[in-house]
């Protein structure tokens, strides 16, 4: 560990406040896309999975780590693509609005 435990805890607490703050004014129609987008962001566990796969020294560890890499990749790409598709639907709806006038 490069940083001390307390440093990491500080980061945790500050990030929690930022997390609450940034979504506090979300409109109802965006609840689902926002949840889906946040879902994609926690796919960042992929970074952790790659780290441990890169330093695994037993077969068991490598196997577990690679399973984590696979699952995390599905989480990341699937999450972002699904969110984009949802939002595309909103955009085409908004464009239809402009087109009709």
């Amino acid at each position: 560990m490069t940083s001390s435990g307390v440093d990491l805890l500080t980061i945790f607490v500050l990030a929690a406040f930022v997390g609450f703050e940034v979504v506090s004014k979300v409109s109802t129609i965006l609840h689902t896309p926002l949840m889906s987008g946040a879902n994609a962001i926690h796919g960042v566990i992929l970074v952790g999975a790659i780290l441990i796969a890169g330093r695994a020294d037993s077969g068991l560890q490598l196997g577990l780590a690679l399973a984590a890499v696979l699952l995390a990749t599905v989480n990341v790409v699937g999450g972002f693509v699904v969110t984009d598709r949802m939002l595309e639907m909103f955009r085409s709806a908004a464009r239809g609005k402009g087109g009709d006038r």
Binding site: M1, S3, G5, L8, I11, F12, A15, A16, V18, G19, F20, V22, V23, S24, K25, S27, T28, I29, H31, T32, P33, L34, M35, G37, A38, N39, A40, I41, H42, V44, I45, L46, V47, G48, A49, I50, L51, I52, A53, G54, D57, L62, L64, A67, A68, V69, L71, A72, V74, N75, V77, G78, V81, V82, R85, L87, E88, F90, A94, K97
Partner: protein, 455 residues
């Protein structure tokens, strides 16, 4: 970790913050999502490029496989099936977090620090719960299993028992650093996840997905503690915090206290509230209702879950177009929680080419309702139940509703007299101003369409 890598992680973390910020405003939502993806790409490239990474080719291969699975799955899924897809992606994220913590624990060697063990225990437990919990929500939404609440005879006792076992195992792992006990803990978490979601009813599942999403975020944050990686902590915490807030907002929009949803109080009290009463309702014929609609000046359509299930959105759009060609003014009243998720109905109707400007929200529709000739409620119930407005004892009291009882006439297209998901009787069904047409929403609308054409 080199300085430039830490700097790259900082940029990625900023991207995530701005992504969430963008996703909460309609205008920047799509850009926000893309920014999040860019941040993710930067983070992954950084970890691949920084320092000595063994097994590089294998890792890249596995990532490629993940992309090949994930992208098509996300591309082909139907719009109506979106919620369960999100649940599934959330579940695999939770599983990945638990696996990362287990693997790191196996490799850590004997005397690990207490905070390290604590973070490991937390990640493994929450990650496992999130994994199986999400799988069960997926099964419920995909209708692989019943969407009704599943109450095991000794469910409460069983959950408490497993919960206590999980706490005991956690303490044991903290004390002994035993690998075997950690695996047992993961197992307990997996069982707990299933028990946690089984008693949740269909309508509440979206809220549970949101909560499990927050759980996974927290698991990722604590796994960052395990690995000493600040990016994981920041990103995981962001999701954990925003997910918790989002869960509360969703629960508020549905007018349900979160504790009731989680502990199934609703499902326990529901049947009692639905005491069978023989009361007369007025069931109309297709022709009667077609005449009401065809000769009305203004009609408000309130679509609900029943419309989504019956896939009636195209039929409804056709009927509305026919009514408009007869000079009837028609608007759609979209409740914030209509459909399966907040915003879901907007997406479904947009897909059926319903013009965006016809979709009105509560505060636009309610003032118009007293001068509306017919309110046509298609497969909705709880969102038009006047009890939510007038009866403080009603379990759904406080949920915002459409005041369709103030319209001159109300038409319900319903499958049966069964109450909505909240299990609460809707007095409006027995009103003299109400006409009911029983049947599948799509069938009913198609018949109405034919009958209006005959006028």
């Amino acid at each position: 970790m080199s300085t430039w890598a830490q700097f790259a992680y900082l940029v990625a973390a900023l991207c995530f913050v701005l992504a969430l910020k963008g996703l909460s405003t309609p205008r920047y939502a799509r850009a926000g999502n893309l920014l999040g993806a860019a941040g993710m790409a930067l983070a992954v490239l950084t970890v691949l490029a920084d320092g000595t990474l063994h097994n590089g080719p294998v890792i890249l291969g596995v990532i490629a496989v993940g992309v090949v699975i994930g992208v098509p799955a996300a591309r082909v899924v139907k719009m109506t099936a979106m919620p369960q897809m999100v649940a599934l992606f959330n579940g695999v994220g939770g599983a990945a977090a638990a696996l990362v913590a287990v693997t790191e624990f196996l490799g850590s060697g004997a005397p690990s620090s207490v905070p390290f063990r604590l973070a490991t225990v937390f990640t493994v437990l929450i990650g496992s719960v999130s994994f199986t919990g999400s799988l069960v929500t997926f099964a419920k939404l995909q209708e692989l299993m019943t969407t009704r609440p599943v109450l095991l005879p000794t469910g409460r006792q069983l959950s408490s028992g497993i919960g206590i076992a999980a706490v005991a195992l956690s303490v044991a792992v903290l004390a002994t650093s035993s690998n075997g006990l950690l695996f047992c803990l993961a197992l307990a978490g997996l069982v707990l996840g299933v028990l946690f979601v089984l008693p949740v009813g269909g309508a509440d599942v979206p809220i549970v997905i949101s909560l499990l999403n927050a759980f996974t975020g927290l698991a990722v944050a604590t796994s960052g503690y395990v690995l000493g990686n600040t990016l994981l902590i920041v990103a995981g915490t962001l999701v954990g915090a925003s997910g918790t807030l989002l869960t509360r907002l969703m629960a508020q929009a549905m007018g349900r206290p979160l504790t009731n949803i989680l502990f199934g109080a609703f499902t326990a009290t529901g049947p009692a509230a639905v005491a069978e009463e023989v009361r007369s309702v007025r069931a109309g014929t297709v022709e009667d209702i077609a005449i009401m609609l065809g000769y009305a000046h203004t009609v408000v359509v309130v679509p609900g879950y029943g419309l989504a299930v019956a896939q009636a959105q195209h039929a409804v759009r056709e009927m509305v177009e026919l009514l408009e060609s007869r000079g009837v003014t028609v608007t759609y009243g979209i409740h914030p929680v209509a459909g399966r998720m907040p915003g879901h109905m907007n997406v479904l109707l947009a897909e059926a080419d319903v013009p965006y400007q016809q979709l009105k929200e509560l505060d636009e529709v309610n003032p118009e309702l007293p001068s509306t000739d017919v309110a046509l409620v298609v497969g909705a119930n709880d969102v038009v139940n006047p009890g939510a407005r007038d009866e403080p004892t009603s379990p759904i009291f406080g949920m915002p509703i459409f005041d369709v009882d103030r319209a001159r006439a109300v038409v319900f297209l319903k499958r049966s007299m069964r109450p909505g998901f909240a299990g609460v009787v809707n007095e409006l069904l027995y009103s003299t101003r109400t006409t009911l047409l029983f049947g599948d929403a799509k069938d009913s609308v198609t018949k109405l369409l034919a009958a209006v054409k005959q006028l």
